[in-house]
Structures are given as C-alpha cells and as structure tokens.
C-alpha cells in the first residue's frame, strides 16, 4: 500500500489529489504502468512523462527510483514557486 499524490494539472487530469494504491510495483515507472492500465485518466496524466517530475517520500528523484519501502509517491509538473 502506497500513497500516491498528484499536483497542479496532473491532479486535474487524474481527478483527485491523493489515493492509496495497492501495488506490487518496485519502481516509479512500474507504478505508472499499473496506473495507466487502470483508467484512461491516468493515460492522459502520464502521456508525456518528460513533462513530469516525481518525488518519493518527499524527495525529488527519477522514474527508475525504487519504491519498495516508500510510503508516498508524488507526481507533478516542474515547479513554479517564487
């Protein structure tokens, strides 16, 4: 069980800010593949992965990152703070 969070337009495309996912994925990429199979909304959100960033347990990382022991994975576009 892992918490998956979505922000900005990723949140809008997926249609929710957060969900708990029962998954056997061991990397971020595998998790995305599982989600995309579940529903077209994920297909839309993850269509262009080069437009996305990912954080595992609140640390920016890349799509190959392991998530075996992760509690929380977040997907979002490049940040626009400041």
């Amino acid at each position: 069980m892992i918490d998956v969070l979505y922000f900005a337009w990723v949140r809008e495309k997926v249609g929710l800010p957060k969900e708990t996912v029962d998954t056997t994925a061991t990397t971020v990429s595998e998790l995305i593949a599982e989600l995309v199979e579940r529903d077209a909304r994920y297909g839309a959100a993850f269509a262009d992965q080069s437009a996305l960033l990912v954080a595992v347990d609140q640390e920016l990382t890349d799509f190959d990152a392991p998530i075996n022991n992760a509690r929380e994975v977040a997907f979002f576009p490049p940040m626009t703070g400041g």
């Binding site: 922000f7 609140q58 977040a74 576009p77 490049p78 940040m79 626009t80 703070g81 400041g82």
Partner: protein, 146 residues
C-alpha cells in the same frame, strides 16, 4: 534561520525589521520580495498550490545549503500559498552575512532554487479561463550558475 509557509499576507518591511533585530554582527543584509504581477488579459486570481509535506523540507534544505556555502549569520524564507490578487505579496527571502557579495549571492541562490525546486505551482485565472503557469527554461538554466 527560519522558514515560514503560510496562507496569510504579510508586510515585508515588518518581516525585515524582525530579521534585522536578530542578526547582530552582520555587515550586510539583503532581502528579496516577490509580488503578483497582472497579466494582459487581466488577472482575477493567482492560485498557489503546494505539496505541504514536502514544502518545508525543500525550503529547509535550500536554506541550509545557503547558510553553509555563504556562512550566513541569518536567513529567512517566507512563502505564501492560496488565492492571491495582483500586487499581493507572494514570498520573501532575506540573508545576513559579513560582506555584501555573500549576502547578495546567497539571496539569489535561494531565489533560483526556490523557483525550480520548491513544490509550488501557480495557476492564473483570467476572464479567458484558467491556466497553469509553465516553468521557464531560463529558471532551470539559472541553477547552473550554482
């Protein structure tokens, strides 16, 4: 050494007075304040979304890097989230160091990192609709300076 993430507005001058009272011994103090700019279509609101659990951690990390690299005797980051209007204050950073070069560089470093590495996202609402602000490649490029 403080990081504040809040919805409420604040007075940058009052924040600078507080900060200046806490930095005895510094020769140089720099502050940066960001405000909401209007857009040609007429900005109704600027919505700032953030990833609360990660924001504090990301800002603490940026502040710690600046403190150790420029030997700051003081630093401050305040960043707002929520619904803002043109001319509203968005955020502020302040730095204190022995000399002006360190204080300026550390403030610019914090701003550059904050733009591209702190989990905030802006959405502009105008009469023509809502649009997520797109990250500028110039902001990503700016990180290469450091």
């Amino acid at each position: 050494m403080s990081v504040i993430v809040q919805g409420e507005s604040f007075d940058p001058g009052a924040a600078l007075t507080d900060f200046s009272n806490r930095i005895q011994g510094a020769g140089a103090m720099v502050s940066f304040t960001g405000f909401v700019r209007d857009v040609p279509a007429g900005l109704l609101a600027l919505e700032i979304e953030h990833y609360a659990a990660m924001t504090k951690r990301a800002l603490d990390d940026i502040e710690q890097q600046a403190i150790s690299r420029w030997h700051l005797s003081g630093s401050l980051i305040i960043h707002r989230f929520g619904s803002l209007k043109p001319d509203d204050i968005i955020m502020m950073v302040a730095t204190a160091a022995e000399h002006r070069k360190a204080a300026f560089e550390a403030a610019e470093f914090m701003m550059d990192y904050l733009k591209s590495r702190a989990p905030f996202w802006k959405k502009e609402s105008t009469r023509q609709g809502d649009e997520w602000v797109v990250a500028k490649t110039a902001d990503e490029e700016a990180l290469k300076r450091w």
